[in-house]
Amino acid sequence: MKNSPRLSTLNNAGTMLLRILFAAVAAFPIVFMLVSSLKPDTQIFGDMSSAAAFLPVGNISFDNYAAVFDRVPAARFLINSIGISAVTVVLGIFINSLCAFALSRMEVRGKRVVFTVILATLIVPFQTLALPLVWWVNQLPYFELSGFSLEISKGWLDTYQVQIIPFIANAFSIYLYHQYFESIPKELDEAARIDGAGWFKIYRQVVMPLAGPATATVAILTFLPAWNSYLWPLMVVQSEELRPVMIGIQYFFQLNVSWGEVMAYASLITVPVVVLFIAFQKSFINSIASSGVKG
């Protein structure tokens, strides 16, 4: 039985209304953050019990943003986080896809065991590894160019690489790539092989170009924890000039907290994440959906 056009319009309107409602619920915290970042503290608290909390009304200014840069070297922290996250993402895509490719396409004895062991690491929470890892990274050799001579010292603490290298290899990224590569017909490899391609050529010219959605997902899933990284830099970085953005948020929690500044800083560090998600959202959703079906 077909619905009447009137009923169908009502249904559509209802669905749309529900969507708007869900979107509004999801957007409220972000709107509140952005709006509050423009208000003085007294007004933030004063507006709290009315709809004005979500509207840029009253005493609006960019004073909180100016104060953020007085309290925190925000530009430095942002540059650090962008650099650390970008390098982690790019190297993560390369290393994890290579690993997944080997596990998916190559006939290597024991690869199932290796894959299982890699997956098993997913159940170990990082917090349990953090302190031993601090000890380990402090034992690693450090190479530094001093003029024309190469100096070797011990310990990676208080460096950029200690914030990057431990997070390049990622079991979940390997799993995502592996699942995606499994969906790419192996006949393509064989055809390429007949044309004289080696493993690396197959990887870079056949498989990877078809794995765009997986790459987008891995990019986002690697970027987010790198951007949000808090515990690890707290433990391994002492110099202010090397700190990432998330450590900066703690700068605001003094005895008398300036909530307007907190909101301004939170807005500043949220923008890059939102931009990244908007840029990749189609591929991200595609990949999550497809790996969910196939996984």
């Binding site: 503290d41 970008a86 870079r204």
Partner: protein
């Protein structure tokens, strides 16, 4: 396709190169183990606290420029909430700096863990507020430039409207008077809750803010005779009485079980009539309320008003390669003018009378002098035992359980059981 992948590969190689270059340019400053004799590092919890950090940097700069300086001091600031985690990680890696600041009650724990070495200063500390000198097992391990004090803030106009007298240091409110005051203030109908006890607070606020109330009832966090058990002290009749009283404040509608995130701001926005807070809120409140602000001592719940003693202090680490210079700097930083500079920047109570005389607000007759009097008269040190951080955590959980409606005796028994087990498993925290 080929070009696309080549681009990805090229980007990866660039990224790898970037890691190397970041590594080359991104090595932070030297830590303790690599510190030379001419530069030593000092860690502080003041990142983001612009005023205090500037004051400390000022003292350091003056020392560095003095001809008697035994080393150049380099300041590294960390955010307060995560400062202890940074120190513990650095200690695990053997990378502690020479000088650290420490929240006073944690000093015995850090001394027991061999993070700190006993101080050997050229400064006489006998005139300092007792709560600014941290001792453990007869040795002084840390010394502070200042202390803070708990107090209650109210508006004189509200008290007058309710017909309630303002508590004074000579005559604090008794438990009954407090009950009466809250009943009358609530009857004014101005606030949903007339009292804000900062119940949304967490971490060290819970033991710092609420254990003095427990102590005023006659209980304590631990039996201070040997610091080996909390049994009978933290879960005895007096402690249960405290817990019931505390929960009763919420049950009677005097305070919220979870206050707003910023109690001071709520008080200034007239969302509460009496604010239980510390000296750090006074300047902001005075700027907003002016003459209408009343600063009162905490309530006498049977054993006199009590407030927590000890704030942030300075110590020297055991692995410091230049202890002599570190001690020299600390002695220098304890000059009255230096202590006054830090206390003035932070609105805290200067550690000595000499320093107080340099700050009009804390000199005799000054608006904040009352906090110095509170500190001298009411301060109780939090238990000077290495078990303190664990005790503080367990007590904090008990406070939250009581506020959430748990059986007071059960909540305190649980805390005692955990504390006693911890002390036992650490061999009694013997040195």
């Amino acid at each position: 396709m080929n070009k696309r992948f080549t681009r990805i590969l090229a980007t990866s190689i660039t990224a790898a190169a970037l890691v190397s270059s970041l590594g080359a340019c991104g090595k932070g400053s030297a830590s303790a183990t690599s510190e030379g004799s001419n530069e030593i590092t000092m860690w502080t919890h003041n990142a983001g606290n612009v005023e205090e950090l500037a004051a400390i940097q000022g003292v350091v700069d003056a020392y560095n420029q003095s001809s008697d300086a035994k080393a150049k001091i380099k300041v590294q600031a960390f955010p307060q909430d995560s400062y202890n985690d940074s120190v513990v990680s650095a200690a695990a890696a053997g990378k502690l700096p020479c000088i650290v600041d420490i929240d006073g009650p944690n000093v015995p724990n850090w001394a027991w863990a061999k993070y700190l070495t006993p101080l050997k200063l050229s400064t006489d500390l006998s005139a300092n507020l007792p709560s600014t000198v941290a001792k453990w097992e007869g040795e002084t391990y840390a010394v502070g430039h200042y202390d803070v004090a708990l107090a209650m803030l109210a508006r004189a106009s509200d008290l007058k409207a309710a017909g309630v007298r303002a508590a004074t240091i000579e005559q604090p409110w008794t438990e009954d008077e407090f009950q009466d005051a809250l009943t009358k203030l609530k009857a004014l109908g101005k606030w949903e809750y007339p009292l804000d006890m900062g119940t949304a607070g967490s971490g060290e606020w819970l033991p710092y803010g609420y254990s003095p109330l427990l102590q005023s009832f006659g209980a304590d966090l631990i039996n201070r005779d040997g610091f080996q058990t909390a049994d009978g002290v933290l879960n005895g009749d007096k402690a249960v009485e405290w817990a019931k009283w505390f929960r009763g404040l919420a049950d009677q509608g005097f305070m919220a079980t979870k206050s707003g995130k910023d109690s001071t701001q709520d008080f200034l926005n007239n969302k509460s009539g009496v604010l239980y807070t510390g000296s750090w809120a006074a300047d902001k409140a005075r700027a907003s309320l002016g003459e209408d602000l009343v600063v009162m001592p905490t309530v006498d719940l049977g054993n006199g008003p009590k407030i927590g003693g000890a704030s942030w202090q300075w110590g020297v680490t055991e692995g410091c390669a230049n202890t002599d210079a570190a001690m020299d700097y600390l002695s220098y930083s304890l000059k009255p003018e230096n202590m006054a500079a830090v206390a003035k920047a932070t609105g805290t109570i200067p550690a000595t009378e000499e320093a107080a005389a340099l700050i009009p607000e804390f000199a005799e007759g000054g608006a904040n002098r009352i906090f110095m009097d509170f500190s001298r008269k009411y301060a109780v040190m939090r238990p000077e035992t290495p078990a303190y951080p664990f005790i503080a955590t367990e007590y904090g959980k008990a406070v939250q359980d009581v506020l959430a409606g748990a059986d007071p005796q059960g909540a305190l028994d649980k805390a005692v059981k955990a504390i006693d087990a911890n002390i036992k498993s650490n061999g009694g925290y013997k040195n």
